[in-house]
């Protein structure tokens, strides 16, 4: 049975097929979550929630071959929401605590540059370079023309470069 057929069965309500489909993307989901949320326990919670949302939203997946892009987008949306919530908690809490926490992680320059991207740029770059998804697939799941995705990708890479340069500038001081 092809992967599309498995997903198709899952959409029709076959639970075993759903779990099988999730199995094929679980590592992609975990790595995406880890890249966004940094902590293993947060990433695991993300997987739990995304499995939940995917199961509930499966009927909305029109084209089985886009399953992977579709579910990774659910993960990215979840991560963005979680980050927003964390930011809000940090703002309400002691700011000093927040700074202390931020310094705990040693981030690669590129990771830091990624974190400072706007949500859409980060999403596009994650989909394209982290998961090697085709522009065509991304366009289909985002429901927009391929040209638009290309424009976003160009802008995203441009801001990524700016973020990297900025970082370089700071470290020279």
């Amino acid at each position: 049975m092809s992967f599309e057929e498995v997903v198709q069965k899952a959409i029709r309500g076959d639970d075993q097929s759903f779990l099988a489909a999730i199995q094929t993307v679980k590592i992609d989901l975990y790595k995406t979550a880890l890249a966004y949320l940094r902590k293993e326990e947060d990433a695991l919670e993300a997987i739990q929630e995304v499995t939940f949302r995917a199961y509930k939203g499966l009927k909305g997946l029109k084209e089985p071959s886009y399953f992977k892009t579709w579910i990774i987008r659910i993960m990215i949306n979840y991560c963005n929401d979680t980050l927003k919530k964390q930011r809000r908690i940090i703002l309400n809490d002691d700011l000093l605590d927040a700074e202390g926490e931020a310094e705990d992680h040693s981030l690669l320059e590129i990771e830091e540059a990624m974190q400072r991207l706007d949500e859409r740029s980060r999403e596009i770059i994650t989909l394209k370079y982290f998961h090697d998804l085709k522009i065509k697939d991304i366009a289909k799941t985002l429901d927009c023309p391929e040209g638009t995705v290309k424009t976003w990708l160009f802008k995203a890479l441009k801001s990524l470069r700016e973020n990297l340069d900025e970082k370089g500038g700071v470290s020279h001081v």
Binding site: L34, E40, L44, Q48, T51, F52, L108, I110, L160, R161
Partner: protein, 440 residues
């Protein structure tokens, strides 16, 4: 032209590919998420208003919570496991610390009587009662697997004919509808406006399943002396974003804690729900709002009683009432106005959270979009442009689906003066503050 960045990204990707991943934990997370999804019913709740559901003008605010995890204290676990058949209680009340404490303190009364009619068996397991309320635990079993287990025409009466001033009641099962099963465990909650004066009761109801429909009638007597209510007079006024709120008193019952609040009628905002109100003791232990069941009674627009999980069986040295976040909209937006002739929303609170899906003389269906989780039923009543109340046949809302849920009200079609006005009782708009008042 982005060679450098692309190279960086591919190195990052490789780095992540080489990271170890905890496969067992991932699989566990997937299964937990899957189970949660299976257990959550499609539609959260559909309440049909019955004349005797709410007495007088009191509107009850109801929330259905779902179990995410079960955590029990060792004392609780050992007490429960010492009584056969009590393990299932854990599942039913693990989201309510007050009820768990009541069980732990042996304030629960076992009844354990069963009735069987044509293959349908109901067991009245146990009851916890205080001066103003009662929670009944029961199990329904059918010979064949059923998809639905409905309890209809639920009625609690005193055996001697004394009037019970019933304020609100609810029936809740913890297993979702839709799954084939032979057994259903459930709780029935009753809350009274006047203290109970009698000890003997009759409970009648009809169980309706796919294959059965049977009437049941149980006679029972409360044998444990009812614990006296602890009342703490407060009369303290607080200010959140310029809104004045007076905490009149706090009443601590074994089943719940009731916080009586009064909003200043001059406030610029209409306050709906106190989202995170809680009692906190000297050790930082918190008793939060009821997670599943009645969360508040609204005596009128400006006077609410909020229900928290009970700490009756604890004797804290210090106790504080803490709150940070309240649902509120501008007074002039407290009604959503819908033009039912032209199918348009004329007025709603800022943010355009509501979109009209379908409207006709007899029903209004809207979509509510939110960025945050929002599990409240937003409308409490309906009136026409002349201010005449329209009795609702039903009021429903569906579960959150990617930040959107459907809300509908159904009412008898008739000649109403357009536009109709839906009174809000909850809305995804908040005021925030940092309130902590000493209770004792």
């Amino acid at each position: 032209m982005f060679e450098k960045e692309e190279k960086n990204l591919s190195e990052l990707k490789k780095m992540y590919e080489n990271l170890p991943f905890p496969e067992d934990k991932i699989d566990e997370a997937i299964l937990t998420g899957f189970k949660k999804a299976k257990e959550m019913p499609e539609v959260i709740v559909k309440t049909r208003r019955k004349k005797w559901l709410f007495s007088g003008l009191i509107a009850a605010v109801f929330i259905i919570g779902f179990l995410t995890s079960i955590r029990v204290s060792p004392v609780f676990a050992s007490y429960v496991s010492s009584i056969p058949g009590m393990e299932k209680l854990v599942e039913l009340i693990s989201d309510n610390k007050g009820l768990m404490l009541a069980v732990e303190n042996e304030y629960i009364q076992e009844i354990n009587t069963a009735q069987e009619k044509n293959g349908l068996k109901v067991t009245f397991d146990s009851v916890i009662a205080d001066e103003k309320g009662m929670v009944i635990f029961q199990t329904i079993e059918a010979k064949k697997k059923q998809e639905k287990f409905y309890v209809n025409d639920l009625k609690l009466e005193s055996a001697d004919g004394t009037e019970l001033e019933l304020g609100s009641y609810s029936y809740g099962a913890h297993k979702p509808h839709g799954e084939l099963r032979t057994k259903e465990m459930a709780t029935m909650d009753f809350f009274f406006e006047e203290p109970l004066k009698t000890k003997e009761f009759t409970l009648t109801f009809t169980v309706e399943t796919n294959d059965y429909e049977e009437d049941f009638r149980f006679l029972f007597t409360l044998e444990k002396p009812l614990k006296a209510t602890k009342t703490i007079e407060m009369n303290k006024t607080i200010l959140i974003e310029g809104q004045k709120i007076t905490i009149k008193n706090i009443k601590i019952y074994p089943l719940r804690v009731a916080v009586h609040v009064v909003m200043d009628p001059e406030n610029s905002k209409k306050i709906f729900t106190f989202e995170d109100i809680r009692l906190v003791d000297e050790n930082g232990e918190a008793w939060t709002k009821i997670a599943n069941g009645f969360t508040a009674s609204q005596l009128n627009d400006n006077e609410h009683i909020l229900y928290l999980q009970s700490n009756y069986f604890k004797e804290p040295k210090e106790l504080y009432l803490v709150m940070n976040k309240l649902q509120a909209v501008d007074q002039e937006d407290a009604y959503v106005k819908v033009d039912i002739e032209n199918g348009k929303i004329i007025n709603q609170p800022i943010g355009d959270h509501l979109v009209l899906l379908d409207v006709k003389n007899g029903s209004i269906i809207l979509k509510l979009k939110t960025e945050e989780e929002f599990n409240y039923s937003p409308f409490s009543s309906l009136r026409d442009a002349d201010g005449n109340e329209i009795e609702l046949n039903s009021n429903y809302w569906t579960e959150d689906n990617n930040g959107e849920r459907e809300i509908g009200v159904e009412f008898p079609s008739g000649s109403y003066k357009n536009p109709l006005e839906l009174k809000l009782s909850a809305f995804p708009a908040w005021i925030e503050g940092d309130i902590k008042i000493k209770v004792k």
